[in-house]
Symmetry: C2
Amino acid sequence: MNGAESLVRTLIRSGVDTCFANPGTSEMHFVAALDRLEGMRCVLGLFEGVVTGAADGYFRMKGTPACTLLHLGPGLANGLANLHNARKAGSGVVNIVGQHAIPHIECNAPLTSDIEALARPMSAWVRTSSDSRSVARDGAAAVAAARGSPPQIATLILPADAAWSEADGLAEVTGAPQRPDYSPQAIDGAAKILRSSGETLLLLGGRALTERGLALAAGIAGKTGCQVMAETYNARMARGRGRFFVERIPYPIEQALRALKPFSNIILVEANDPVAFFAYPDKPSRLKPEGCEVHRMTAKGEDTIAALEALAGAVGARAQDPKPQQPMELAWPKGALNPASIAQAIAMSLPENAIIVDESISTGRGFFPPTASAAPHDWLQNMGGSIGFSTPVAIGAAVACPDRKVICMVGDGSAMYTLQSLWTQARESLDVVTVVFSNRLYQILRGEFDGVGAGEPGRKAMDMLSLDRPPLDWVALGKGMGVPGRAVTTADEFSRALAEVTAEQGPRLIEVRM
Amino acid sequence: MNGAESLVRTLIRSGVDTCFANPGTSEMHFVAALDRLEGMRCVLGLFEGVVTGAADGYFRMKGTPACTLLHLGPGLANGLANLHNARKAGSGVVNIVGQHAIPHIECNAPLTSDIEALARPMSAWVRTSSDSRSVARDGAAAVAAARGSPPQIATLILPADAAWSEADGLAEVTGAPQRPDYSPQAIDGAAKILRSSGETLLLLGGRALTERGLALAAGIAGKTGCQVMAETYNARMARGRGRFFVERIPYPIEQALRALKPFSNIILVEANDPVAFFAYPDKPSRLKPEGCEVHRMTAKGEDTIAALEALAGAVGARAQDPKPQQPMELAWPKGALNPASIAQAIAMSLPENAIIVDESISTGRGFFPPTASAAPHDWLQNMGGSIGFSTPVAIGAAVACPDRKVICMVGDGSAMYTLQSLWTQARESLDVVTVVFSNRLYQILRGEFDGVGAGEPGRKAMDMLSLDRPPLDWVALGKGMGVPGRAVTTADEFSRALAEVTAEQGPRLIEVRM
């Protein structure tokens, strides 16, 4: 068995059963090992941003890491932006990055670059295998890092000669996974604050946004009168009818400051101390109001569910404590397409247990309240702010959950970044509906231009913010990659199209011409 | 004047007149400055790989750097692969990368990452401006680095508050550009070798491949009987009727070893000591035969033309020394599409002074000899091996040379990497013909799989190498981005299509279905 085979066997044995890949020459022995062995599904992406984003989506839905296969430094570089997003979302990923055979590196061949230096900014764990007999052990260490508490991005660099030379066999992932825990003192502190008189915000992130975490938070809020919110962007939220609906801290800084103004205490439940997405002249970076105290209850990697159970116990919350929430009434929208009518149509058409991947940016700002009344679903967002995240994440979610419908909502500017995703969706017959909001503008930047104090954009500036010349034809782009699509221009058409495509199987695209 | 304006004024004053851009919030003040000021053409790319590749193409044709505008760490990351290619090609580029306002960085907002660490692997010069009054001086230093000898990738990181706060004014690029020189001893050494008895190869790279450099090499070869070759891949070669035709070292390692076998001396004229593109089991990394001596005559950044003139003088080469070369006869091809008929059609249809951007990979292996008989043209290749280089480089070449036709020849696998380029070509009405060789396969990897000793690919391996399921429809993809296209399936159709689109103005696409 060669090094590549020892690695593939190690990955499969440790439960890594999916490889999102874009290989090159230096990875051919790894590909050959995948070819020979059973137990690893291989999914080709025609650009590495697709590959790494898919691994992120897979982890978010499955809870265990997939591996990626990337070609040397430039292949890794192409995948870094979505690794950035995965890292910020707390996803575990095992990257296998090919490298030249070790004696070839000093020759400075065209594809030579400093792969470790490229990997480090987006990886918590980086290692280059020194020889074929180390590869399996290194692979086991990479898996252990990726599925740790918290999960991490692990990048294993595999020289070609370490792949093709003789190895000893597979390696076991040693050491039980670190047992997540929480701090009882932090629970006591939180309970004391909740019993005190001031206005308190329970700010939820991570696993606090599972159905169970939300139910516990609802009980605590019902009992103590605290407010509950989620971070602005979240890796995965359980939502829809019967689940506790929490608003998120708004993105626009003025609204965010207003939303947090009432609070004298913020308790962080796997959430970050709230900060502005960007800095703006003469505005604060930290969003908490003056005098407000911020308390950490759990951090990433801790057992947030057990901590919330303990907190519920400490404040005496019971099953009947959650206050009933008034779901917004839904109806099929008519007339013009606008954020409100789009949101109604989406909320009406969501099939049970759907997965929403949300990169709707400006169009989607108002989608949240109406979809709280939709059928139960999961809602995935971009935690790292690097656009082009959603169409690949939809791939990974669909691979992880073949029985669930994935709805990817994406602005046209973001969709262009990783449009190669559509091809992989077609090849794998993934059950993904991509809804492209085509406003032919980096709409969010239109607002930010003014927001940072740059005034009113002139012709040259508008040219840098607009996608209208020429207009993108998303139906043609979908056709080019094998995904059937249609364009809609009214709310009625959109409703009908959504109802139809969600009833069908396989990838579909809807261009929403705004 | 704020920091952003001081930077834009500095860039314009120093001759940087083109900005390839994909900005975000943190770059809005730079955009606003571009908006207010005359003298900088702004070209929007819908993905950063397009932006950096365009800057590479611009430098290759213009000889002076353009700037890029990129959004924080992930925006830079998306552009790294084509910066890698630009670096290997010796292109000068000034990257302006936005950063959060300095006090915002420690907040670890979603888009925060280590931008300097991301920049360093592909940049010779990296700096973060510490405040608004340093920005102009830093910009001038970046330009000086980018247009140095040799030219370099310079990355200036611009915090948002350094952009929006008050500055003192523009800065001059200080210090005359370093005067390129060469080593007279190296010329003496080369002349001595050329007068000796052994078989000698003059291996050309960089500026040795200009019309003048080639003419000098032809005279030296005619006088001394040495052989002349170019490196496997070259940033820019003057080619076509009336120019000295040199073969390149073949890509396949067996052929490369065979081609270099006769030589007892290799003289490097701005070329690298020849190495294999990849390592293969039981094959050497260095291509020179045993006992062959390698001598460096000029390196990148030296004055290769003056050095060749000196060498011609030293060996007594005269204007009548070049041996006449027998141009291959050209005719419009008929019948089936294959590399030979495709090459004939391209050679027949090349308009005078065209720019060829060649990422034809496996299909194009035989394009070189017939196109030596075509009208005079420049031929640009990928020096870094990271695919997705050609469609953006075609943008930069067309912006740099608006009066010349650009023909971009690209395999389907490579074209998918940066297909967003087509949109920018349409927006800017660039005179670019994109010829996509659609073999629905990473054809080169089919050979490499065997070449590295991995045997015969099975079903899963072939799935990772093939693009056939579903087939890509390049005419639809072009339509989606505003570039008119047509598909051809015979040599006659291809010839007719090429003749027609080269006679038209503006971007066109031909899908060659193989």
